[in-house]
């Protein structure tokens, strides 16, 4: 089964047009030079995929890594099933 990180990388690749191999856990959306509107679309696609709401008032969101995004998704999934 695909891990959360796999799914997040797949969404980033699909929305940004990058190759999956270019994206890893330590990549930040800023390093990947993702355009600002693609960033919004990535956030939305992740929310839809995992049925969560990501915090949007965090100015670090764009500079945070894929791994920190995965950690936030895991935290919210765990909180829902608790």
């Amino acid at each position: 089964m695909a891990t959360i990180e796999d799914k997040v990388i797949e969404i980033i690749a699909r929305e940004s047009g990058l190759e999956r191999a270019q994206i890893s856990g330590s990549s930040t959306l800023k390093d990947l030079e993702i355009a600002s509107l693609d960033f919004v679309q990535i956030m939305f696609a992740i929310e839809e995929e995992f049925k969560i709401y990501l915090p949007t008032n965090d100015p670090r969101a764009e500079t945070g890594s894929v791994a920190s995004l995965v950690a936030e998704i895991e935290r919210q999934i765990a909180a829902k099933s608790a």
Binding site: S36, V40, M43, F44, E47, T56, N57, P59
Partner: protein, 371 residues
């Protein structure tokens, strides 16, 4: 090929701030897209792995590329590597511009007022009209069908492409470039009514309170003044001031089809993209960037270094250094929250309906007498 545009690789590298690898003595005469490269003296621009894959010919011996990009080993005998490709292009491409041989002097079909003072080496093209008391500086080139209103002053080395119109009293600094059909110094969009009009009397609610009657025009006595090294794109218009001048200061670059209203003051080194519209009396700071199709309402102040995202509608002042987007424009992170909020609405509505159904179920259960 003009020998002036043949360059040794090592000499080119140093002129564009790049680093030469391999054989620096290779001579190149044409920078080109990778797919177009076909001769030994072509210089394909390879700024990405995709660009490398577009190369078709093995003929080019040298390439311009970016630091860190891996190229097939042994493919090129010489390379120039640069850190900032677009900046390198700004340095590189002028070296390959065809040399324009403007004929000094005034074309026989030009109509020049006898009181105009035109530098001896300036070039005035066919069907140009030059009004009274105009001054045209050294090295200026005016292509065909340019109109220069009376009392205008052009600094040295200005380049006015065909169809440019300058209203009376326009001031151009040095090295100003005006592309086809630029219009500087048309009257401002400036009118008044004797009684308060529909917009002035807007209060609460959505009904107009007054009618606009007897609209009177306010003439424009001011001028347009353009600083050194400003460039304005085709079909852009800058209106003259009502009493003072509409100003565009040194180094600002303006794209095609931009409208700048009367009495605006645009700072230094701004970048203003296509189809921007700036209403009257705005003050735009230094180094401001306005994306394509940005609209700015009248009398606003946009602070130094601000960036307005494309297609935004600015309805209030923007503080220095802010990035704003949307209509009405808000700080960028807030704009993104709005976009995300809009995208979330469908799921949120479904969730609220689900909650409502569950709540109704709970309340029905609560109201039932216990067994």
């Amino acid at each position: 090929m003009d020998p002036a545009s043949r360059h040794r690789l090592d000499a080119l590298a140093s002129r564009i701030g790049g680093r030469c690898e391999g054989d620096g003595s290779i001579e190149v005469d044409r920078p080109c897209e990778p797919a177009d490269a076909g001769s030994a003296s072509d210089l394909p621009l390879l700024f990405s792995a995709d660009a490398v894959s577009e190369l078709r010919s093995a003929a080019p011996r040298a390439a311009l590329t970016v630091e860190g990009l891996v190229l097939p080993a042994g493919r090129f005998a010489g390379l120039i590597r640069v850190a900032r490709p677009r900046h390198a292009l700004a340095r590189l491409l002028p070296l390959f511009l065809p040399v324009r041989k403007a004929q000094p002097g005034v074309h026989a079909t030009a109509i020049v007022d006898p009181s105009a003072r035109i530098a001896a080496d300036a070039s005035i093209g066919p069907f140009v009209q030059i009004g009274a008391d105009v001054e045209i500086g050294a090295g200026c080139i005016l292509d065909g069908n340019v109109t220069i209103g009376e009392g205008s002053r052009l600094g040295p080395d200005c380049r006015l492409h065909a169809g440019v119109r300058l209203g009376p009293g326009t001031r151009l600094g040095a090295r100003v470039i005006l592309h086809f059909n630029v219009s500087l110094g048309a009257d401002g969009f400036s009118y008044a009514t004797p009684e308060p009009g529909s917009v002035e009397t807007l209060t609460a609610g959505s009904r107009v309170q007054a009618r606009n009657q007897a609209i009177e025009r306010i003439p424009s006595l001011g001028r347009v003044a353009i600083g050194d090294d400003v460039e304005i794109g085709a079909n852009s218009a800058v209106d003259r001031g009502t009493i003072g001048d509409t100003l565009i200061q040194r180094g600002t670059k303006i794209d095609d089809l931009v409208m700048i209203g009367h009495n605006c003051r645009i700072g230094e080194d701004c970048l203003i993209a296509g189809q921007v519209g700036i209403a009257g009396s705005c003050q735009i700071g230094n180094r401001v960037v306005l994306g394509g199709q940005v609209g700015i309402a009248d009398h606003l102040v946009i602070g130094d270094d601000a960036v307005v995202m494309a297609a935004s509608g600015v309805g209030r002042d923007v503080a220095p250094g802010m990035v704003v987007g949307g209509t009405p424009a808000v700080p960028r992170h807030q704009f993104f929250e709005q976009l995300l909020g809009l995208a979330r609405l469908k799921r949120m509505a479904e969730e609220i309906r689900g909650l409502g159904e569950r709540l109704a179920g709970l309340e029905r259960g609560k109201g039932r007498p216990e067994d």
